[in-house]
């Protein structure tokens, strides 16, 4: 299982699932991070955290701790 915090910059692919069923998971999904959606890892901040991803056509900053809960497939 590959999680979003471990893919390299410039990777594109699809979101497979979100781990967990708490408010954080729900919040991620409201923001459009849901299974089946395409994503792109655009950049990381200077110390490697947070990440900048493109999803649903917009840019989202997400910390590594939350990104670790997003399972992805890189194409």
């Amino acid at each position: 299982m590959l999680s979003l915090d471990r893919v390299s910059i410039g990777s594109k692919g699809f979101i497979s699932s979100i781990i967990g069923d708490d408010a954080i998971a729900q919040r991620l999904m409201e923001m459009g991070v849901i299974e089946g959606e395409p994503f792109e890892l655009v950049a990381t901040a200077p110390m490697g955290d947070p990440l900048e991803i493109k999803v649903q056509g917009y840019r989202l900053s997400i910390r590594k701790t939350e990104a670790a809960r997003v399972v992805v497939r890189v194409s």
Binding site: D21, Q26, M31, R59, S61
Partner: protein
Amino acid sequence: MNENNSQSKTYRIALLGNPNTGKTTLFNVLTGLNHRVGNYPGVTVEIKKGSFVHKSTVIEILDIPGTYSLAPRSPDELLSVELVLGLNPMEKMPDALLVLADASNLERNLYLATQAFETGLPVILALSMVDLATAAGMEIDFGALSKKLGIPVVAIHASKHKGLEELKDAIILSQSEKRLPNSPLFSELIESCRGKILGLLGNKGSRFLAGRLLFETDGFLAQQLEQKLSLSLSASILENRQVLKSSGINLVSIEAKCRYAWIHELVQPCIRKPGNKTVGFTDKVDRILTHKVYGMLFFFLIMFLMFTALFILAKPLMEWIGAGKDFLGESFESFLPDGMLRSLLVEGLLEGVGGVVVFLPQIIILFGFLSILEDCGYMARAAFLMDRVMAKCGLSGKSFIPLLSSVACAVPGVLATRVIEDKRDRLATILVAPLMSCSARLPVYVLFIGAFLTDGYPIWFPGMMLFLMYCVGFITAPIAATLFKSTILKGKGAPFLMELPVYKMPSLRVVFARIYEASLSFLKRAGTLIAATMVIIWAVLYFPCVSPTGENYPALIAQTENKAEQDALLLQWKKNSFLGRAGHLIEPIVKPLGWDWRIGVATLASFPAREVVVGTLSIVFGLGKDSKDEEQLQEILPKVHWNDDPDQPLLFNIPAALSIMVFFALCCQCGSTLMVIRQETGSWYWPAFTFLYMTGLAYLAALLTFQLGMLFL
């Protein structure tokens, strides 16, 4: 449930939208200056209400705070949901909802809209940033979108006043047409479960609310509703959830999945997007501005510019305000007879009002910078770059700029925390912002370093001492933030998910509106309290103005020609005043810090505003009140003996000087900051807490400094 109250002529709409859609601008443009801030108990958000007249109908708008979803997880978010659904006893249910969506980012913006579609109220959809969508190569068919949704869709550009007439017409039309939007249908099983819960809700219910209760697994909303509407819901909710779970439905993800699936299907035929190959303007800019090296360089350049502007541009403006105040004071003095009234006007009221207005240049400059950075989209990048560092003390990247601004002055710094959405993060930032060494502490450092730590030391030494004094704040603030976030402000933090908006030209209208709003709310709310505090301080330094032998000090001073005698009388008067007596009383408390009663008085007098300390020290060391010459004070201080008795040791030694500086570095001697904290947190608890923890911390640190200093220096 969507019957309009036909007797009332006012048509009530609630304005909803994601953050960064230009909702505030639309609200301001529609209502002009005709709005007020609603007060709702128990919440910290500001909810504005305004109105305008169109085609002889009064339309009242409730500005719901920007949100990505109507899923309440805190009292603040719950209030928004209550207002939209008409569940709040203080507001009637809106007659219609106006949803503002960012056209360049339509899918995610429509998520909130689909929730509004289920409320059973007529909805008008306004689209902003259509120009950005076009610039990015998107083509949106508004007609098709409107047809598919079954409601009016209006493209607007609020700051250019485009599309506003059409929007107002659409609002008026919704009053008679009452067109309800199409909304996403979930699977048959889910809809039947939702129907069962809807049945229990009675006349306050809607498909949206029933769905919320079904999908909201943390139970916050159900708990609140059961209390407020005295309904018993939990049994039915649990039962229906069980039905769904047993047929393999994941309750956590089902809502988002269904809504986004519906949105994609809806939007696809209405939007033509450019191919994925093209690299947009924002991508190109972001490659530089979020770059590990160039991005950080640019960030520090911007921060440096902002900071220099705060110091350099604000300084002459503040001096003009000071000069204007002095001029007014002199004119009052020239035509008012000497006496208490004149003193109250000049030294109390005028100082008080001046003490408020003097903050305006800094507020205006800082908010000018911040709103330009925010409106062009850079603010989110700044937070992105600084997030890792700030996360170490439990905060997010959004806390960096407010804390940095506090190095100039904590008043605009605390106001700048409004960009922090997470309530606990915002509060922690507000609590530690006054620890940053502000510009008003600088004179204290300069005075004492100049008097005790310059002569006989290497040339670099005073500069390093000054730097170390600033470090006291830079080091203490993150430690305090970490402590607060892991104790009193502990809690399940919301994830730090932040949209990085598309870059665009900042709108002057938006920038001016923000500056105006920040300045006005400061003047109106904190300003009055600050002025009042200054008058009280004047009073405790003025009264009693009669000496123990029955002589009237102001009269005595007026009769005396000799400057030295006047200064001596003034010193006696202040020594005898309520504040002076308090200084004597606290001498046993400040003695372990290496201070005598005079420093005690000067410190006490500085609690409302630390900038007065040099002036007060001049009075208590007998230089008279008009001596603004720091050099004179610097010369005198090293020669002062305890109780002015030449047989006693010198009052100041290096540990005592250090202990005073450390005390001023950490103590909350700024009534204005406390009043702004009161304004921003909506409670007296937090300013009281800030005052107590900082004063306690300052005392302990000064005690430690002096006692250790006496041992080792």
